[in-house]
Assembly symmetry: C2
Homo-oligomer: 345 residues x 2
């Protein structure tokens, strides 16, 4: 199912459709509304009908949500709320965010080439728990004092299932997992460390597990990012650290993500970039992150690893030949960038 | 009051003492134990007697706390717990963490010179509230489910007082404050944004206030760090983002911090680096962060701005002349680095 969403979402998803026609014409495609687009049409950023259709599909590819138009909207009606409801509704608890440096784009990074060349990190972020969803939460007054509060909470099964995914992924890579928390100040962080350690004893054969505080990880990602292979983090730290890691690569308009639930349930695929309202409608957005999100869907939900390999290689080859959208210092339109990828297939 | 603490703490504080003798010989110096050193002597990482003496002093300069020796210790007895108790006991709610790039050290950064040259950010981190101290918190079992949880909470006065400090500091700089939270997913974050906005309307004359999500800030710090002047953040986001910002400068062994409470109460000054157990006792630690923390104490607690200016300039001049400890690729010992600074005074 395709959920183009808002801003540049529809533009980049349009390019994905061309690749579906070319690489997987047998796939049945349906579309739906999410975010501001859904709010405008139905008064809610995600209808139950859309969620049901998403649940019945094999994979969900989302463009982007949000924009200035909906900033004044009540928080539970905002585009972001639709995204959170979709993640929770699909129960996609493991968000995979690769941060790799395309060889052709090394010079785009703020970091020195030798620091990021060959960088290839996979962040596994817990996506349906933690402070994002914990209760009690609210803004109210107590004893004459205005206050705002949230609950950061994790249970044993929540940590175990996402840790299992991190271990599986590490086994297909260099086998190293670095689990990140603030166990020196948070009880949920100490619990996270204990549970990951237990899971490692039970399920971690062949996996080399280490632990790091979130502040140290934010530092180390700048100092020596190539030390990392798989980073396992909760919803909040995973949000911050994956954005930092993505930016290191200089390829922020390029990076995809996959959010996986239990075996046999549909995965949710999204570019890491947002809805970019400033360039929406101009036909200049970089379609690569959406195209690579489709590539991840082919791999993780649709069992078409070979096609995925070919598509990934074509994106790299197009970059090697100098194909660049505006965000990468080039001149190509959204459509022309896709043309270059298709030509490299 | 000097609290050397653990690891390299005593070594770097010893160098500060030389500078006190030279630049402020009239200061009465007393010393105390904190962290593992206090635990070993008294079974607790901060005694009430030490806290009382700290409260009665004009300024507290801490070296560092922690080390592998105390990792197995119960959490409320760990060195870090002593530090948190000291911050809370002194009620130093505003943690100032400058991240600036010494011209002579630009090449030490992982980032390209043009990205960090002239970088000068002041992070104002709330230090005595938020998820660090919120209750309820714990690790227990409910409905047969093991769980760990914390409460992220802020009240109106907590946000107002630290925002006021950020505004004051911005007025002495370029006047821009960027407040950071996750108001799109956290109620405490939405409350933070609302309260900072209110405080701005009341107290923010001459201050240009903007807001950013913490994940976006983690990205922007890598992409274009020079866009920032003052960053205002809660305890947890401030912890992560200030470490990230510190590492950008390439001067992580160089950076000081000041934690301020209400007018007339003693400030707490600490290097940003930790206790570095791997190099402790070798006499090779970089004393600059401790020396610059003393510089901040001269400025913020002891009303000796002129002496502070001279000391700051001397550190820069020593670096310009090529003085480098091992962490900066040089050969100087802790003592020799201080000699170089003294020679430049
Ligand atoms: C839009 C926002 C709610 C979301 C998050 O915080 O999860 C985004 O930052 C992300 O990482 O996908
Ligand atoms: C040691 C630890 C408790 C502390 C913190 O998280 O505040 C440290 O990271 C810091 O930033 O001073």
């Amino acid at each position: 199912m395709l959920l183009p969403g808002d801003g540049i979402g529809p533009e980049v998803i349009a390019e994905v459709k061309r690749l579906v026609d070319l690489l997987a014409p047998d796939l049945e495609i349906e579309e739906g509304l999410v975010g501001g687009a859904s709010y405008d049409a139905h008064g809610t950023p995600l209808t139950d009908e859309t969620l049901q259709r998403a649940l019945a599909s094999d994979a969900v590819l989302l463009g982007a949500v949000g924009g200035p138009k909906w900033v004044g909207t009540a928080r539970d009606k905002r585009p972001e709320a639709g995204l959170l409801a979709l993640r929770k509704g699909l129960d996609v608890f493991a968000n995979l965010r690769p941060a790799f440096c395309f060889p052709a784009l090394v010079s785009e990074s703020s970091l020195k080439p030798e620091v990021v060349e060959g960088l290839d990190i996979m962040i596994v972020r817990e996506l349906t728990g933690g402070v994002y969803f914990g209760t009690p939460r609210g803004i109210d007054e107590k004893g004459g004092l205005r206050r705002g509060y949230d609950t950061a909470i994790y249970t044993h099964p929540e940590i175990e299932r996402v840790t299992r995914v991190a271990f599986e992924i590490a086994r297909g890579r260099s086998g190293r997992v670095c689990s990140v928390e603030k166990s020196n100040v948070m009880d949920s962080g100490l619990f996270w460390r204990q549970e990951v350690t237990l899971a490692h004893a039970e399920l971690g054969a062949g996996v080399d597990l280490s632990h790091m505080y979130a502040d140290a990880c934010a530092m180390e990602l700048v100092r020596a990012p190539k030390q990392f292979d798989v980073i396992l983090a909760d919803n909040l730290f995973g949000d911050i650290l994956s954005d930092e890691a993505a930016m290191l690569t200089g390829s922020i308009g390029m990076l995809p993500s996959a959010s996986l639930g239990a075996e046999g349930t549909p995965g949710l695929y999204e570019p890491v970039h947002g809805s970019a309202p400033d360039i929406a409608g101009k036909g200049i957005a970089n379609p690569c992150a959406a195209i690579l999100s489709f590539e991840m869907a082919l791999r993780w939900s649709l069992s078409r690893g070979k096609v995925a390999d070919a598509l990934f290689a074509a994106v790299g080859a197009a970059l090697d030949k100098g194909a660049r959208t505006k965000d990468l210092g080039g001149e190509l339109s959204t459509r022309e960038m896709t043309d270059a990828i298709i030509a490299a297939l």
